[in-house]
Every structure is written in structure tokens, then in C-alpha cells.
Amino acid sequence: MKNWIKMGLGALGASLLTSSAYAADYTIGVSNTVQGNGWREEMICAIKAQALASGKVAKLNIAHRNTDAAGQSEDIRNLISAKVNAIVVNPADPAGIQAALAEATKAGIVVVAVDQMVTEPSAYIISNNQEQYAYLGAKWLFEQMGGKGNVVYMRGAAGASADSDRDKGFKRALAEFPDVKVAQETFTGWQQDQGKQQILDYIATGVPFDGIWTSGIDNVIVDALVESQAPLVPVVGADNAGFVGQLNSVEGLKGAAVTNPGSIGGAGVTLALQILDGNKPAQQVVLVEPSLWENVTDAGKAQLKAAADPSLSPEWPVSISIPEWTTYTKDQIVACKGPGE
């Protein structure tokens, strides 16, 4: 008799499992507030590709425009009205959208923040470890500079939490090298044109510098150095396709690319689907660790050669997938098509 009950329960459990595993009917909402930036576009494409590859998403609902925290709150509330099952959000501000995220959780929606932190405690966060990103690159740069000299510190967008986390890592490395001085600190706003203008302005002052740390606006900085025939000082950037190509090809350029995959958006979709299927992660915050590829040692050169991908847009990070978190193919992310497109 007992065995019968056990078997019955087992069968019931199995049928429940299979029904949830094959439910291809989730709707996932996406909210992003920077449009026209290569990294963010790759993030959106990774979200689409992962939603398609997972087979569990019926529809994506993407709110993607240039706006502020108030505008993002509006988008999140619209996604609540659209009755999505989960929201993947790249926050405009960690605190500014807290009320809207809390409303989403209250409405039974799974909230996953990607790329940057949020203050809302009910939200799950999957992010690149931004502090470590800056620390790795800055430490390598200061070593290349011989532990002394002037560094140009080209940050991201003022007030973005990714930027303030990176600032912590940069300052941590700076503290280890007391003879390195910050000659100039600028905010590129993660805009190519702005970053290039700033470095050209700085070169024009004639003040010497010994290294440049960038927050991912990198290939235009190398372009500016080459065009203005300024000394090719070591440059640290992200793993953007254009910059990785330059590290392989520009004569005399010493530099390092620190990985910061935009495919974190796809990882956000995977995390959201896991939570929807009842597998909550042990912690609210999941961090993806960066690695550094430099062109000074042979081992580093080999890594860079392997990573280079001229078929990608120069502003796209070459790390288009994250092991264990994304399952799409390169063709799928480049095609940038979501379910039903």
C-alpha cells in the first residue's frame, strides 16, 4: 500500500516537473535606459538570444530608451501593467527606481538587475564584478608604468553604480602605488565622441602623462593617440572588439583588455527563468569575475589573438557568452532576434 502511495506521489512529482520544464509561456520584460551604446546593444541582443535559446520564453517586452530614473520607473510600471512574469533591468540609478521595483515584486514579478546594483532588497542581482574589473586593469597599468608617473583616469557616467564601484577598485590599486598620481579625471559618460574629445583636449595641453585607464571607452582613445602622434602610453580598456583588435595590431601599443561581458543580459534571463522555475540562487547577488588579457607577455598575446573577432561591431565586447549562464550560439546573438521575431 505504502509503495503505491510512493509511486503515485513520484508520478505526480514527475508530471509537475515536466510540465514546468516545458512551459514555453513566460513573458519577460526588459528595462534599459541607455540607447545607442555598443555594450548596451550587445546586452539587449544577449537577452533576446538567450530568451530564444532557452525555449521557455513566449514573448519579450523591451522598454529601451534614453531616460532617467523617473522615466525608468514609468517603464517598469508599464511592464507591471503588461503583466510580465519577470523583469530584467539595467538600473539608471541604484536607489531611484526602488519604489517601482518594490511594486513589481509585490505584483509577483521576479526582478533581476543586471550589470549594476539596486537598493531594493527583494531584487536579484547578477553583475560583472565592477570593483575587481577596475582593480585588475589599474594594477596592471601601474605596474607597466614602473610604479610611478601620471595616469589619465577616464571614468564612465557620473553616478552610475558601475562607475562608483569601479572607482573603489581603481582607488584600491592606486593606494598600492603611492608614486602614481592622477593627472586628469574625466567622465566620458560611456560615449565614444565625448571620450575622444576629452583626450584630445588633454593632449593639446601638452602636460605629459604615462598611462591611460579607461572605463571601456577605449578604441577611440588609441585612435586619438595615433592621430595626434602623441606618445603611445599603456592603455587599459575593456574587451571591446575594436580595442582587442588594436592590441593585436597597433605597432608599439602596450595595453590590456579587462573582460566585461555585455552578455550579462543573457545571464540575467537565465537567472530569471531559474527563479520562475523554483530554483532560487543561494544569494541575492551573483557576481561574474573578470579576467585580464594583455599584449606584453606571450601568454597574454595568445589570449588576445584567440579572443579577437573582427566580425563583431567594434563597440561590442568580444566575450559574447558567459559559460554556465548563456546557451545561445554566436549566430543567435549576432542576429539579435528574440522569440517570435
Binding site: 540607447q35 514573448k59 519579450l60 517586452n61 523591451i62 522598454a63 529601451h64 530608451r65 534614453n66 531616460t67 532617467d68 530614473a69 523617473a70 522615466g71 520607473s73 514609468e74 517603464d75 510600471r77 508599464n78 511592464l79 507591471i80 501593467s81 503588461a82 503583466k83 540609478d93 536607489a95 531611484g96 527606481i97 526602488q98 519604489a99 557620473a158 553616478g159 562608483s164
Partner: protein, 324 residues
């Protein structure tokens, strides 16, 4: 009745458009209800104050490009003053920030009147100045806000004697918006100053020859715009809990809503109700585009096309009715 329609045709048409859009929203998303309407009103708040500021200036024959920057500046000022301060301290902060907006607006007006540099140039300059000043106050989004201020726009207004199903449609944010706009606009419209604002917008020379103090009127029009912009800045801080030094997308949105609201860009004609309903229409269009999951790169094109289509249709109807 026909006289009413002729005088308020534009507002009636816009309201009808809003109702049609609302019904369409209910069809797209059958569950769209009172709570979602509350979200819409909260999204409308900063835009509504920005457009109110722009409306006053445009009716006076000018244009204020510094609206969004002034909102950012007043927002960070309020947020940085309230950070870590007591709840009571905010009672002192709010009037101070409103006064700050009024004074900054007046400075805009004084510069225009005294230097005789065109409005568009002066307010473009103050846009940059205020943007920089906002970054001096807070170099990154931050600060705080008193809980009671946040509470002013969350939830619904309990009206005694009405069932919850009805009061659910009266969000506090709507009450705040209506009260603040009416408190400034109705006395203004009925005063000599209000009449003078319309007069200088219609024809500065004619107004001057009829004895309207043109300079003073213009300065006050900009000052009132500054007051509305400060309300917009406060509403931003109230809805996000922080102050952000980089201006949001409120400048172009304010001009768009002014045009859609039936205010002549040349000045002298129009009211406040039209632009405010226009803001509701534009935000609801955004909601519908999100609900329909339209390709995000297309949404801005759709929004722009709808706007130009409505304005052209309105102009066509106006010309036709004049001809007949």
C-alpha cells in the same frame, strides 16, 4: 454649446483622443485598471510641471530652454538639503526650493529684458549654467527625501461616502497635480498680469501702446515658469527619492506637449488645460507601446509621427471651420 465647442474645441478633441486611447489600452490589456492609472499619473507629474512652465512662457511670446536643467537643479538642491535631515526640515525646504525656482526664472526674464538678447539664446545659456550648477550641488545622483513628501504621491485619495472601487481612480498624485496647477494658474488667468501675459505674447508693440508694462510682465512670466519648474524638480525627487544632476528628457517633451496642447508657438493663444491633457496622451501612448511590445527602436518614431499627425489634423480642422 456650439460656442463652447468653438472656444474649447482643441481641448475637447484632445480629451476625446485620450478617452479613445484609454479604451484602446483596455482592449490591449483587459486588466488595465485603477492601479495602472495611478502609475500613469505618477509618470505624468514631472512632465506636467515642465509643460506648465513652458506654456506660460510660450503664451508670453517666449521660449524657455532651461526648463529641464532648472528641474534638475531644484531637484538636486532639494535632495541634498533633505539628505539625512529630519522630516520637519522638509517643511522648510519645500518653500525654499519653490522660491529658488521663482527667482531663477525671474533672472531668466531680467536677462532677456535688460540685455535684449533673444529668449532662445538667454535660456540656452542658463541651461548650461544650471546644468553645471546642478553638478556642483551633487556630482552624482544621491540625496534623500522626507517620507511624508514621498507619501504625497503614493496611494489614492479616500473620499468619504464613495466605495473603494471609485476612489481607486483618484490617485493622490492627480490631486497634488490639480491643486498645484490650479493654485497658480486660476488666480493668474483672472488677474491683470494674466491678461498682460496674453497681450505681450499676442503683440508686444500693441501691448506696450495700450499701457501694458511689457518688461515686468515678461519677467514675471519667466518667474512663474521657474516656479513650475521647481515643482517639477520636487516631483522628480518625490518620485525617485533622490536628486539626479543630469537633466531628464523634459525640455523637448515640454515643447511637444505645448504644441500638441493647442498653444500657438508664436504666443498669445492657448491655455494650460490642453497641454496638460496632451501630456496624459503622450504618456499613455508610451504605455501602449510598451504593452504592445513594439520594437523599442521604433517607438520614438511612432511617438513623433502621432504627434505631427494630431497637430496637422487639428490645424486642418481649424482652417476648415474658419472657411465655413
Amino acid at each position: 454649446m456650439s460656442r463652447f465647442l468653438r472656444r474649447h474645441g482643441w481641448v475637447v478633441g484632445l480629451s476625446a483622443l485620450f478617452v479613445v486611447l484609454f479604451v484602446a489600452t483596455r482592449i490591449i490589456q483587459p486588466g488595465y485598471g485603477a492601479g495602472d492609472f495611478g502609475s500613469l499619473v505618477r509618470a505624468v507629474l514631472p512632465y506636467a510641471f515642465a509643460v506648465a512652465a513652458q506654456t506660460v512662457v510660450v503664451i508670453a511670446g517666449g521660449i524657455d530652454l532651461s526648463v529641464a536643467a532648472m528641474m534638475a537643479f531644484t531637484s538636486v538642491t532639494a535632495a541634498s538639503m533633505m539628505a539625512g535631515a529630519s522630516e520637519e526640515y522638509a517643511i522648510f525646504v519645500v518653500p525654499l526650493v519653490l522660491a529658488l525656482g521663482f527667482v531663477l526664472g525671474a533672472v531668466n526674464g531680467i536677462l532677456i529684458v535688460v540685455t535684449r538678447v533673444p529668449d532662445i539664446v538667454v535660456t540656452l545659456a542658463t541651461l548650461f549654467i544650471l546644468q553645471g550648477a546642478a553638478l556642483l550641488v551633487l556630482d552624482a545622483p544621491g540625496g534623500g527625501v522626507a517620507e511624508w513628501l514621498k507619501g504625497l504621491i503614493i496611494g489614492t485619495v479616500p473620499i468619504p461616502g464613495l466605495p473603494d472601487a471609485v476612489t481607486a481612480w483618484f490617485p493622490k498624485a492627480l490631486l497634488l497635480l490639480v491643486v498645484l496647477l490650479c493654485a497658480v494658474w486660476i488666480p493668474l488667468k483672472r488677474s491683470r498680469l494674466g491678461l498682460s501675459i496674453y497681450a505681450i505674447g499676442s503683440s508686444e508693440l500693441a501691448a506696450f501702446r495700450s499701457g501694458v508694462p511689457v518688461a515686468r510682465t515678461k519677467i514675471l512670466a519667466y518667474a512663474i515658469a521657474g516656479l513650475f519648474a521647481a515643482m517639477g524638480g520636487l516631483s522628480l525627487t518625490m518620485s525617485t527619492g533622490i536628486g539626479a544632476p543630469i537633466p531628464g528628457p523634459y525640455l523637448l517633451a515640454s515643447v511637444a506637449a505645448v504644441v500638441l496642447g493647442g498653444v500657438a508657438l508664436g504666443g498669445g493663444r492657448g491655455g494650460l488645460l490642453g497641454p496638460i491633457i496632451a501630456v496624459f496622451v503622450l504618456r499613455l501612448v508610451r504605455t501602449d507601446l510598451t504593452l504592445l511590445a513594439i520594437d523599442p527602436n521604433v517607438t520614438a518614431i511612432v511617438e513623433g509621427s502621432i504627434m505631427v499627425a494630431v497637430v496637422m489634423f487639428g490645424a486642418y480642422v481649424t482652417i476648415r471651420s474658419r472657411a465655413s
